[in-house]
Subunit: 367 residues, 2 copies
């Protein structure tokens, strides 16, 4: 009898595996033939375009998200209201310095959330070329005061994981203005987070700190950073002129967009996938994070196509405001905790739409 | 004593492994920081551009290949002379048909090596929509005679390996004109080898056969193929008008470009890497096969940078005429056999410059 049971279990298990393999193959086939992900991505990037929190584009993205989810067979679609920062870049920034060859224009942009250089005026200051926050912290105030701090530690091109190269440099961008202002600097300019040598300054998030002066913060292209660095080396004191037009406005109302298929057996247990709807204002947010958004929506679309009624609830969350505040993500987590929702898994897909190379999970001991 | 020897061997082997790991890491680092591959690719694609065998671009590519290899520290650089086909597309091809809405233009191009439709004239014929060579073979001659055969079997988008999807369709393009002409068809038009739906006709190689009439052969974009197919279904007899201006000229002299580092211990044993210099005439040949060319050159460049003197001879071969004849590859093989050269390995890299996903080898039992 035990043998029979064992045999039956083995048989059922092999059978279940075969069934799973078939289902997975069907998912592949449908994704390769009937996916709406690329068309959704085209609309999000080309018809809506950039969509920084608080912008018209972000509002359109919320409406678009509802509409796209509305075309699927879901049990619920709803919005989670949040307030988001509203920052606008304004006109194109300018930066230049003089050397014996004359005026040298540089490719710069304001970092997201930066204050401007003031009512349509340049600020000027001698450049101080540094490689780290620590270097600034260890300098005497007298050396930093009145200067423009130039954070120029490059991303390490030898790191095959560019995320790791990014992670080991981005403190300059995020906290550079705070540490420089503590010592009396009047502005910061940060080498773009980019392993390529090119002329595009990369914006990104930065922070100010209560009790520390807010000073204007810029990114400079990698080519520009190298050129500036050469000139600092050659001429010693170099006066840089910077101008930006950006401005923070009062917070605005925005939303996470959520769609759900209710689980047939465990409706109160959630498997959540998502991406973030907002993007920076200088691109169209295809990789960051249009890809994550359309992939996540496609999960529900494929389940629909296969007519699968999952046992657990499947939820897609299109998060607002990942880029400059993560208020959508935080609010989602707070609401989930307040409602005591059990999440079997939650995945925000935000690493771009590149060739998948595998699957890995990491976390702390506690997690 | 035996234990000591065993210990020593283990120690040396671990040591050698550690040394290998270090060397491989150095190769990575140099490739990521000092590679000239992208700049070489830029020059090959942008400054030289398309370079079909027999064209001015192909001649420039040979000169470029010599010059780039000439900048490396190699023991020999030489040319292998070959004759190559010389075919030119001429002016842009045209195709149209009429339906109740009026004149419908289609996106077509001549297949590489095709004859033209004649001195500045259209050929006209009723379309016959087929899915395979076999289908044509099995039709009575009377049904095919005087017709334009439309090969419309699409690449299977469910095949994750697009090379495999390509391989299972490309017989239509390569042999379609032969099989159709055997039955009296006056031209063929072949659905482009493309899993995307778009408006770009893809050229590619095709063959004629001695004793069988040569008839004009075209590719049509995937969108165009679908549109044409719909119209054939709707209207039954559909007369297609085709015009091409292409022409074959007498063969020309061209060359494989070869560079070598002589092996210190086994100079007569070769490890060969290569890509093909020629490209089709409608693009700039970045993936096909600029990538293979610059990767192969980079192998020698990296060895130079590391000051490695290999034990076996390392050879890079920039093959001419892979696309429409493979005469460079054949000549190289003939010469290697005639000189009785021992090749430990020979790799032509010709699968585009995509994310590497692994390494595999296959072949027949005999190989």
């Amino acid at each position: 009898m035990r043998h029979l049971i064992f045999f039956l279990i083995s048989f059922l298990s092999i059978n279940a595996q075969a069934q799973d393999a078939k289902t997975i193959r069907t998912i592949y086939d449908l994704a390769l033939t009937q996916s709406e992900a690329y068309e959704n991505l085209r609309v999000l990037c080309k018809d809506i375009g950039h969509r920084l929190s608080g912008s018209e584009g972000a509002d359109s993205a919320v409406v678009w998200g509802q509409r796209v989810l509305g075309k699927l067979e879901l049990d619920t679609i709803y919005l989670q209201e949040i307030t988001v920062p509203h920052w606008e870049r304004g006109r194109k920034e300018k930066a230049y310095f003089y050397n014996e060859k004359g005026k040298n224009m540089l490719d710069v942009c304001a970092l997201g959330g930066s204050i401007s250089t003031g009512m349509n005026q340049f600020i000027k200051g001698d450049l101080l070329d540094v490689k780290s926050l620590d270097e600034v912290n260890n300098l005497p105030d007298s050396l930093v005061k009145g200067k423009i701090i130039f954070y120029n530690r490059p991303m390490d091109p030898k790191k095959i994981s560019t995320f790791s190269a990014y992670g080991s440099c981005v403190d300059q961008r995020y906290s550079g203005a705070i540490e420089a202002a503590k010592k009396g600097a009047i502005a910061v300019i940060v080498r773009s987070m980019n392993v390529r040598q090119d002329d595009f300054p990369h914006t990104g998030s930065m922070a100010y700190e209560d009790g520390v002066d807010s000073i204007p913060a810029f990114a400079i292209s990698t080519n520009g950073a190298d050129y500036l660095s050469e000139n600092v080396t050659k001429y010693g004191n170099l006066e840089l002129n910077l101008k930006s037009f950006c401005k923070s406005y009062p917070d605005k109302i925005s939303h996470n967009v959520i769609g759900e298929i209710k689980g047939s057996e465990f409706p109160d247990e959630y498997i959540t996938v998502g991406g973030h709807l907002d993007s920076w204002d200088m691109g169209e947010g295809a990789h960051d994070d249009g890809a994550g958004v359309v992939q996540s929506i496609e999960v529900l679309h494929l389940l629909n196509l296969m007519n699968i009624k999952p046992k657990h609830s499947i939820r897609v969350v299109l998060f607002m405001n990942e880029e400059n505040g993560n208020r959508g993500g935080k609010h989602y987590a707070e609401r989930a905790a307040a409602k005591n929702e059990k999440h079997l898994m939650a995945l925000e897909s935000d690493r771009g739409g590149f060739s998948p190379r595998g699957f890995s999970v990491n976390g702390t001991e506690k997690q």
